[in-house]
């Protein structure tokens, strides 16, 4: 490769006690596609945020094209030709694509939106995007929003693009499209940095991989010399077995039967449309789908948190007497009082599953604090449970009364999953159980779910990583637009098939 377009030397950034980047020195070469690889919390995003003007380094030096620069805000970053597409889109919902592109640009007089639109079309033609400049953001799909973000930074003249986990929200097909656009950009001489933790994507798109671990820069290797195993080892710092077990299904009994389940969200959009499925003890039922296609509503309906349309039925078959109980129309407390052993690990861990300002101990009693006749809460039992989970799942926390908000993502999830498993469920529902977790914690979660499965629990696993779904689950239910697009066998399912079922109902075949 040629000269370094950006070079960082001894860049350090800390947040309170946390050292997010520790003396990082690295180069980014002109015209390359660089993958910045690291586990969650390894400091990838922080490092790139210092290039895009979101954060300012505590110490260290940044050079762009050989000149030392001070990037104080995103405007300075654009002046250096650096543009970043953040993981959480920063778009104005009620604006059109063109309006979003120019928002924040200082310019005298009126914006000439027509010339902006022309500029957008030119960029689209050049790199192979599809984008209607007059479309409002609220009408856009996730992938369109991302496209718009990329167009925005190119329009503003960025030569160095930083994409933060761009594929996290995309289907396999959309990911392929994005990659071809990225390759076009490279041909045009642009430099692209992709932040990611997905190994197969690293291998398929990038020229070079730079690895961060716990805030420190480990090394950079040419992609052609790397394998999934070698990269993982550098990322984690030790050899990791990358196989997920899938024990044989034993003693399969019906636990949950969902029929004709439909519901609307607060805006009157139909989120679930006549969903039918069954979940059995001793198996893991995977639920795949593009985010926002009814996964949340499905689990919340079962948990008693979602108003459903008349005609639906959710029957729970108790392992004690094998009798069925209807859950429709019941509140979470009524469901529990009925003797239903249902555990639920929601997607929003601190916003729904736990109380962020409370310690582990107080979080343990979230679901059963009301038991007993005393007006006072029982603090002893939750404390013991917290200590037990702390020990068994190796939760890293200063103490069981430290607010769980201050724990890392992986430890927060251990607390939540630990509590839900401790309730000895018959049905265990998890939503994006490993999102944002490091590899070791993810494998701990897979192991825990498999333990539940083999002990006879019906596990429902809503996931986004198709590779994991195919390795872990016995059956995979694919949701598309709130409908069950298909149910596949976990062992024989092909990724392309799942991807097709995710984007078109029934996988494009008219079989309704």
């Amino acid at each position: 490769m040629s000269e370094a377009v950006i070079s960082l030397s001894n860049v350090t950034k800390s947040f309170g006690e946390v050292l997010a980047n520790d003396n990082v020195s690295m180069d980014i070469y002109k015209g390359e596609i660089l993958s910045l690889l690291g586990e969650n919390g390894s400091g990838k995003t922080t490092l790139m945020n210092m290039l895009s003007g979101i954060y300012y380094p505590d110490s260290g030096e940044i050079k762009v094209n050989g000149k030392t620069v001070n990037i104080r805000d995103p405007k300075d970053a654009f002046a250096c030709g650096i543009g970043m597409v953040h993981q959480h889109f920063k778009l104005v919902d009620v604006f059109t694509a063109a309006e979003n592109v120019v928002v924040g640009i200082k310019q005298k007089g009126h914006f000439d939106l027509r010339s902006v639109a022309a500029g957008i079309r030119e960029i689209c033609d050049k790199y192979g995007f599809v984008m209607d400049p007059d479309k409002k953001v609220y009408d856009m799909s996730v992938s369109e929003k991302q496209t718009l973000e990329i167009i925005k930074v190119i329009y503003r003249g960025a030569d160095i693009l930083i994409l933060d986990e761009p594929t996290a929200v995309l289907t396999p097909q959309e990911t392929e499209k994005l990659f071809s656009v990225i390759r076009n950009m490279k041909k045009d001489g642009k430099t692209v940095v992709i932040i990611t933790h997905k190994l197969h994507e690293v291998l398929s798109i990038s020229d070079r991989v730079a690895i961060l671990r716990k805030g420190a820069y480990i090394d950079a290797v040419a992609t052609k010399d790397a394998t999934e195993e070698s990269l993982t080892e550098m990322m984690v710092g030790e050899k990791v077995e990358l196989n997920i077990e899938r024990p044989e299904v034993k003693d399969k009994k019906l636990r949950l039967k969902v029929e004709h389940l439909s519901c609307y969200n607060a805006d009157g959009v139909k989120m679930l449309d006549d969903v039918n499925f069954e979940a059995f003890s001793g198996e893991i039922l995977g639920i795949a789908g593009v985010s926002g296609n009814g996964q949340k509503e499905l689990l919340e309906s079962v948990a008693g948190l979602q108003n459903t349309m008349p005609g639906a039925s959710i029957e729970y078959y108790s392992p004690e007497d094998e009798k069925s109980r209807e859950l429709i129309g019941l509140t979470p407390r009524k469901i529990r009082e009925l003797g239903v052993h249902l555990s639920f690990v929601p997607e929003d861990r601190l916003g729904m599953g736990l109380v962020g300002s409370m310690g582990m101990s107080e979080n343990m009693m979230l679901k059963d604090y009301s038991e007993g006749n005393s007006i006072f809460t029982d603090k002893q039992k939750p404390k013991e449970l917290a200590e037990q989970i702390l020990k068994e799942l190796k939760v890293v926390t200063p103490g069981i009364s430290t607010p769980v908000r201050r724990l890392s993502g992986g430890n927060v999830q251990k607390v939540l999953v630990g509590r839900e498993i401790a309730a000895s469920p018959a049905v265990l529902m998890t939503a994006y159980a490993v999102r944002g977790l490091d590899i070791n914690t993810s494998y701990t979660i897979y192991r825990l779910l498999n333990e539940q499965k083999t002990s006879g629990v019906a596990v429902i696993y809503v996931g986004e990583d198709l590779d994991v779904l195919m390795e872990l689950c016995d059956r995979i239910l694919v949701l598309c637009g709130g409908r069950v697009s298909g149910i596949l066998d976990g062992k024989s399912a092909k990724k392309e098939d799942i991807g097709r079922l995710m984007t078109t109902y029934g996988g494009g075949k008219e079989n309704k």
Binding site: G16, V64, V69, A79, T331, G351
Partner: protein, 366 residues
């Protein structure tokens, strides 16, 4: 070009959790700086020795027995309202309506004193106590029901309820006008002192003190150790978590506002039966708003609420004194109160953030 630009002049960074000792130190330092700034200001404008001003303040608040009790009375009023507000704010229900809840409690108390005068004292007190609490509770209930059922904005709702309460007070002041044409209610039951708090240990305010201290302890236990308190914390943190836990959010909102309103109503009872023995639109006198500051500064901890109430009551009595003694007008005392509050509130910022100046590695404290 960015290369020519300098490092930013001031940057902020979130702090780790500060040790308790250091937190107290920061607050004390900020108080000291506040006093120095006040002193400089007073000296530069009037030429009066600031130390003299401060000693006048202390004399004004604690100089005589009467003054001590007056300061304590003020402190208890503030503390009572703050204790009432604490559960609502802990639930993140923005009860800006304490002013109205106090007034309504006061109206009911005054009404009892006027119409139920012949009743035996114990019964009269019981009716006033319960009546003012119920009145305040109902005043808090209305916005709570609308919040629970229709998710209305409780800030606006409770705020507007204040004006309704003020108008109601005006109405009753006109109705109970005494003597005729004075446009005030005058001192109620001046001769027989029916419905007045009796003097205990030489002070009429003693009962108020006991009552507020009792409420402070009860509120501490309620928030910290009961199931209700736990529910309030969960709802305040996240309604989704509350629903997930099986808590009926609407019911908790209604129940908590009943408690909050009732305690504010009791503050009205204390203000009328225990202190002024009259009712006017200024019976609450802005304390319903000041108490919000007390509750938040104390993070809803009972003991801290009492301390902060004391500080504010001291500032008010002391500032009033310097206004008359040092021939400064009342604005001067308000300025002093304002400066001190500014620094105390500002110190919270330095407890949560570090300030990093250009060129330096780090700057500690304020």
């Amino acid at each position: 070009m960015a290369a020519a630009k300098k490092e930013p002049f001031i940057r902020l960074a979130k702090r780790d959790v500060m040790p308790v000792g250091k937190k107290i130190a920061v607050r004390l330092i900020s108080l000291a700086i506040a006093l120095i700034v006040c002193g400089l200001l007073i000296f530069s404008i009037t030429g009066i020795n600031p130390l003299e001003v401060y000693s006048t303040m202390i004399k004004g608040a604690f100089g005589t027995k009467t003054r001590v009790w007056a300061t304590v009375k003020e402190m208890m009023m503030l503390a009572c309202i703050a204790i009432g507000l604490a559960p609502a704010f802990k639930m993140r229900f923005w009860n800006i309506g304490a002013e109205g809840q106090v007034l309504i409690g006061g109206i009911v108390t005054a009404g009892c004193m006027i119409y139920l005068k012949p009743l035996p004292p114990v019964l009269l007190f019981a009716i006033m106590f319960v009546g003012s609490a119920i009145a305040g509770a109902l005043w808090g209930l209305l916005p709570a029901i609308f919040k629970a059922k229709y998710n209305t904005n409780e800030t606006l709702f409770t705020l507007m309820m204040n004006y309704v309460a003020i108008q109601l007070t005006s109405f009753f002041v006109a109705k109970w006008e005494n003597p005729f044409g004075s446009n005030t209610v005058g001192i109620i039951n001046q001769n027989g002192q029916e419905g007045w708090f009796p003097a205990v240990f030489g002070s009429r305010y003693f009962i108020s003190v006991v009552l507020v201290l009792l409420l402070a302890v009860l509120m501490f236990v309620y928030l910290k150790y009961t199931k209700h308190g736990y529910e309030i914390s969960v709802v305040g943190e996240s309604e989704n978590t509350a629903r997930y836990a099986g808590i009926s959010v609407g019911w908790v909102v209604i129940r908590t506002m009943l408690v909050s309103g009732a305690l504010c109503g009791l503050a009205g009872f204390m203000a009328v039966a225990g202190a002024s023995h009259t009712i006017s639109t200024s019976t609450a006198g802005g304390r319903g708003f000041t108490a919000i500051i007390v509750a938040w500064l104390a993070k809803f901890d009972s003991a801290t609420m009492l301390l902060i109430s004391l500080l504010l009551a001291f500032l008010q009595s002391g500032a009033g004194e310097i206004a008359s003694k040092c021939k400064l007008n009342s604005y001067a005392s308000e300025m002093i109160t304002g400066i001190i509050l500014f620094f105390i509130l500002g110190s919270e910022f330095f407890i949560n953030f570090r300030v990093i100046m250009r060129g330096k590695k780090e700057k500690e404290e304020n």
